[in-house]
């Protein structure tokens, strides 16, 4: 897997021990999951199993239900039908073990460092541990220089890297990324992809949506292709990009309009 730019210095940092020795919460299993609002079914009968350590890219045209699927998995919205369950031995642990990074991250009106310590405070960490882990995350991704800057005046790319570092500082086992680089220029996109690569190297399980097919090719282990809220394909990336099974996916890869 090649990243866009030369490896940054932080990439050579010692990777943290994967999973922190805690039992895994994975696999994450969706059984016949649907989400409807005002009589309109937006996610329709999804059955998917996400296994440990994989990078799954969700592709599909606008309105296919990609973001909704992430939000359902992350627990931000409840399915109107079907079941979502974490089936690993660590699943009953109370701590939030999965995190999400949004297309437009919401930064609190505080310093970059305070954004990280706040997230750790919400999850019940002691003051000293918050500071240590926040600094660890900033240093890990080369963001120490931004620590005291007000987070909301940072550039879009810096904010997104900070959001990724914030998610990482919570030590999730699984990370949901909703078009994390859709609003960024190629340089910032490269930086985000390097971070995703680093997360993967540490053993994080990643589920990500994107409209950038090049990015999907660079990062995907598996591809989920959604269309009209339905699962059309869930295949290994190589297979998806070389010989898609469905017509819809083939047309999508050729850049044809789907509806």
């Amino acid at each position: 897997m090649q990243s866009l730019t030369a490896p940054a210095e932080w990439l050579s940092a010692q990777p943290r021990e994967a999973m922190h020795g805690e039992p895994s919460i994975l696999p994450l299993v969706l059984q016949n999951v649907s989400y409807a609002i005002r009589g309109k079914t937006l996610v329709d009968g999804l059955s998917i199993e996400f296994t440990q350590g994989r990078r799954t890219i969700i592709l599909g045209p606008n309105g296919a239900g990609k973001s909704l699927t992430l939000r359902l998995c992350h627990g931000l919205i409840e399915p109107t039908a079907g079941k979502i369950s974490w089936q690993g031995p660590g699943a009953p642990l109370p701590r939030l073990r999965h995190a999400m990074v949004f297309q437009r991250p919401v930064m609190l009106r505080r310093s970059a460092l305070a954004n990280l310590t706040h997230a750790l405070a919400v999850q019940g960490h002691k003051r000293r541990e918050r500071r240590e882990r926040a600094w660890e995350a900033l240093e890990r991704f080369g963001l120490q220089g931004l620590a005291d800057r007000p987070a909301r005046v940072l550039s879009g790319g810096e904010q997104q890297r900070l959001a990724m570092a914030r998610a990482w500082s919570l030590r999730p086992e699984m990370l949901f990324l909703d078009e994390p680089s859709a609003a960024l220029d190629p340089g910032a996109t490269g930086a985000i992809e390097e971070m995703i690569q680093a997360f993967h190297d540490e053993g994080l399980t990643i589920v990500m949506t994107t409209h950038n097919l090049g990015q999907a090719r660079r990062l995907a282990d598996d591809v989920i292709f959604l269309h009209h809220g339905r699962l059309v394909e869930h295949t290994p990336a190589e297979e998806f990009f070389t010989q898609p099974r469905s017509q819809a996916a083939a047309a999508f890869l050729k850049g044809e309009l789907l509806w």
Binding site: H74, L76, L96, A99, M100, F102, P105, V106, L108, R109, R110, S111, H118, A119, V122, Q123, P150, A151, R152, V153, R166, L170
Partner: protein, 234 residues
């Protein structure tokens, strides 16, 4: 005309000489109104935030009531507290009618709806922006209240200032529950009303000038520190 000019110079002289009666009245006014603002803020900021983010049956009614109570006539607030604190009232045994404490209670009641309503408006917008992110970070709705209060701190200064403006400017409530007792419960506004009626325009005018100056100074300080802090924390 001549009399008023004299009153104006006399007023300036009272201020310049730090006339003890004048100073005492100003200090009591500040103590009462600032205490009321502090209490109303301690109650109103979290309540307003909770009202912005919780959904419950009757929420609309609570919002409308708070909005309506922003215009509560001070004399009515005074009357309610008077009835509560009067000798035969439910809180009569406390014996605090015609004390500064009663005035603080009346003013707190008067400005609480203002702080709740203005806070709710600010916080609703902030909540729309933050809700999903905070929930994603694992924040409960209750845990979001301190987060929102801190992040809305610059906007909330305005709602607190509105409360202070209301408290420092009103006559009716402090008049009814304080009784305008010289040297004990006489505030700037009640003194102005009394001295004007008695014809002592110098003291009335001096207090009027100070009241406006204090309000201006407080607003300037709040604006200045707000801007400075905002630049530092965006």
């Amino acid at each position: 005309m001549m009399g008023q000019e004299n009153a104006f110079t006399a007023a300036i002289r009272l201020i310049a000489e730090l006339d003890p009666t004048l100073v005492e009245i100003v200090l009591l006014s500040l103590r009462v109104s600032l205490t009321a603002v502090l209490l109303a803020a301690l109650l109103g900021l979290p309540l307003g935030t909770a009202l912005a983010i919780y959904r419950f049956p009757g929420r609309g009614g609570v919002i409308v009531t708070c909005n309506a109570l922003m215009g509560l006539p001070p004399v009515v607030a005074g009357l309610v507290v008077y009835l509560l604190l009067s000798r035969s009232g439910p809180l009569g045994p406390l014996g605090i009618l015609f004390t500064p404490t009663a005035m603080v209670i009346a003013q707190t009641l008067l400005i609480l709806p203002i702080i709740i309503s203005l806070t709710r408006q600010v916080m609703e917008d902030l909540w729309v922006e933050y809700q999903e992110q905070l929930r994603s970070l694992g924040s409960s709705t209750a845990r979001a209240i301190p987060t929102l209060l801190w992040d809305g701190r610059f906007s909330l200064i305005t709602s607190i200032l509105a409360g202070f403006g209301r408290a420092s400017a009103e006559v009716g409530a402090v008049m009814i529950v304080g009784g305008n007792i010289a040297g004990y419960t006489r505030t700037m506004t009640t003194a102005i009303a009394l001295e004007t009626a008695r014809g002592d325009l110098a003291l009335a005018l001096g207090l009027g000038i100070l009241l406006i100056a204090l309000t201006l100074a407080l607003n300037a300080i709040a604006y200045g520190t707000g801007r400075m802090a905002q630049r530092a924390a965006a």
